[in-house]
């Protein structure tokens, strides 16, 4: 009989240790990255680092402004295309499409969410880059990056927005329709506003994914260190830069890469905090399953 109580008490300790280990990991990540980045930040100086326009590690120059701009531009470009497409498709799946279409499209979107980034990059390299090259420039460009990134974040926006739209209570719709509103007016004026927080959350999450994407962009965006002046120019966002140089960087160069990592980390924390706040404030009941 006493064995039961022994098991109960020791299992409590085991669970606690496991949980502690997990959280220790999470804390360690932040601490370690910061520690490795410190030498660079101290030596280069935060402002020179963030606003410097030249990234030439061999010359001792570590300015990441072009990278920051690259990330901002490619993310913005992708969002501009992906949001209307994504929300429109979400509306389609949630309300408009007949059952047969839905049965086809939903698993398709789900599949797209799971496709590895390298596959997106591969298709981008083989299909999109030549297309862009036909328009002008080397092909490996901001434009190619935007197109590939749009395709990558689209499924995220669609699936989460669709959940949100479906979660809006039927009674809202019925109330509007009973007053004589058309389907579209109901959607635009009642349903979408009600699903607003979920849709916003999906957009913020998509931004997070875009900012952090490294591998697919490495393959299509050109990775040249100048500030892109047109969409046909190559660009070099933050995340792909880290991926490219980590394996051979040493000393201050390596520390600078960690500093870029810190910048990304901070960016993501800000973006995700906004997402969490938006989701909580909207009080939407969506469960990401």
């Amino acid at each position: 009989m006493k064995k039961r109580y022994l098991i109960d008490r020791s299992s409590r300790s085991v669970i606690f240790i496991l949980a502690l280990a997990s959280f220790a990991v999470l804390v360690a990540i932040a601490v370690f990255t910061l520690k490795e980045a410190l030498p660079a930040l101290q030596k280069i100086g935060l402002l020179d680092f963030l606003l410097g326009r030249e990234w030439r590690p061999t010359n001792g120059q570590f300015g990441i402004l072009p990278m920051i701009l690259g990330t901002v531009m490619v993310t913005l470009g992708a969002i501009i295309f992906a949001v209307p497409l994504g929300v429109g498709c979400a509306i389609l799946l949630a309300e408009v499409a007949p059952q047969r279409v839905r049965l086809l499209l939903r698993p398709a979107v789900q599949l797209l969410v799971g496709v590895p980034s390298v596959v997106y990059g591969l298709v981008g390299l083989v299909l999109i880059v030549p297309l862009v090259r036909d328009v002008g420039g080397p092909g490996l460009s901001l434009a190619a990056g935007v197109i590939v990134l749009t395709a990558m974040i689209l499924p995220t926006i669609i699936s989460i927005s669709e959940d949100s739209i479906s979660a809006v209570p039927r009674s809202y719709r019925e109330g509007a329709l009973a007053l004589g509103a058309t389907d579209w007016q109901t959607m635009w004026r009642v349903v979408l506003p009600a699903a607003r927080s979920g849709i916003a959350a999906s957009i913020v999450l998509a931004i997070g994914r875009a900012v952090g994407e490294a591998m697919a962009l490495v393959m299509v965006i050109g990775m040249a260190t100048a500030i892109p002046l047109s969409p046909l120019d190559p660009a070099r966002p933050l995340a792909p830069s880290i991926a490219l140089e980590t394996s051979y960087a040493t000393g201050l160069h390596r520390s600078a890469l960690f500093a870029i990592g810190v910048v990304l980390f901070v960016l993501i924390i800000i973006i995700n905090s906004i997402a969490i706040m938006v989701m909580r404030r909207g009080g939407h009941a969506q469960n990401v399953r």
Partner: protein
């Protein structure tokens, strides 16, 4: 411009919406279609069973890569499942409703969104360098485990919370201890949900490149121990694209990857169905 009537606005809106659906479907078609159509011709038994021979033309197959991928995923899951499920049990059943708990949960949520390249950096600094594990499957697995941990914790905790409170009460009223309640009632009831989370993590691990790229080394030899370097399917695809001109092989590798993802999605869906059915009664 005269104001459009509500009906015409609706027609226009509907057309646009269908347009977005068409575009999305096209994207899917292009990605999957291109890879599958072009790549399938290069898939053969020998492709799957010979080792890559390296070199500019990317000779060989993907046998060692497949082995390495399985090895890595197995090791990663062995690390992340006990830690993740344990932490989820703690958060769901044992943790007091304190500020510390809220902080931990917040931290988990935020970390779920950190890009994998940052995890790669971290893994490089800690496992590869500081702990002297070098470029190895062990470093890769530890790094990947860190990446997947927040996701698994979140999925498992949700599954546990979905078990109705009345089950806990009924078990306690029958004289069960807390651990007996967790082990005999909650975990079995939450198992499909947890399993879904695990499979989802496996799927994500299969597609991961960035964090493994900088911790696993990328050799194409058959791994002999935890400390050998290695290359996963996604890494191999990257290598083929960036370092060789063997695009057909890259596409073939892509096909294998996509098929794996399809299979994983199907299993996840089936498990979700079972989860819902079991909670509602029957089975």
């Amino acid at each position: 411009m005269p104001r459009m009537s509500a009906k015409s606005t609706q027609k226009l809106a509907l057309a646009c919406i269908w347009g977005t659906g068409v575009v999305t479907f096209l994207i899917l078609l292009v990605i999957l279609g291109y890879v599958l159509v072009q790549g399938v011709s290069d898939i053969s038994w020998s492709f799957l069973t010979t080792a890559p021979r390296g070199g500019l033309s990317g000779e060989g197959g993907i046998s060692t890569v497949i082995v390495c991928t399985l090895y890595l995923l197995g090791l990663t899951m062995a690390i992340v499942v006990p830690l993740g499920v344990g932490a989820a049990i703690y958060l769901s059943e044992y943790a007091p409703d304190s500020r510390l708990t809220h902080l931990i949960r917040y931290g988990t949520e935020v970390l779920a969104g950190v890009p994998s390249i940052v995890f790669g950096l971290f893994g490089f600094a800690l496992f590869v360098t500081a702990l002297h594990l070098r470029f190895s499957i062990l470093s890769g697995a530890l790094t990947l485990a860190c990446l997947l941990l927040p996701t698994l914790i979140r999925a498992s905790e949700e599954a546990l919370r979905a078990v109705p409170r009345s089950h806990r009460e009924a078990a306690l009223a029958l004289g069960a201890t807390k651990w007996q309640t967790v082990w005999r009632v909650l975990l079995p009831a939450a198992l499909p949900g947890i399993a879904t989370g695990v499979i989802l993590c496996i799927g994500r691990g299969v597609g991961e490149t960035a964090c493994l790229f900088v911790t696993m080394g990328g050799t194409s030899a058959l791994p002999t121990s935890l400390f050998s370097g290695g290359r996963t399917l996604s890494m191999h695809l990257l290598h083929l694209v960036l370092d060789t001109n063997a695009f057909e092989k890259a596409l073939a590798t892509g096909v294998v990857l996509i098929i794996t993802i399809v299979a994983i999605n199907a299993i996840t869906n089936w498990l979700s169905q079972r989860f819902r059915a079991r909670m509602a009664g029957g089975a």
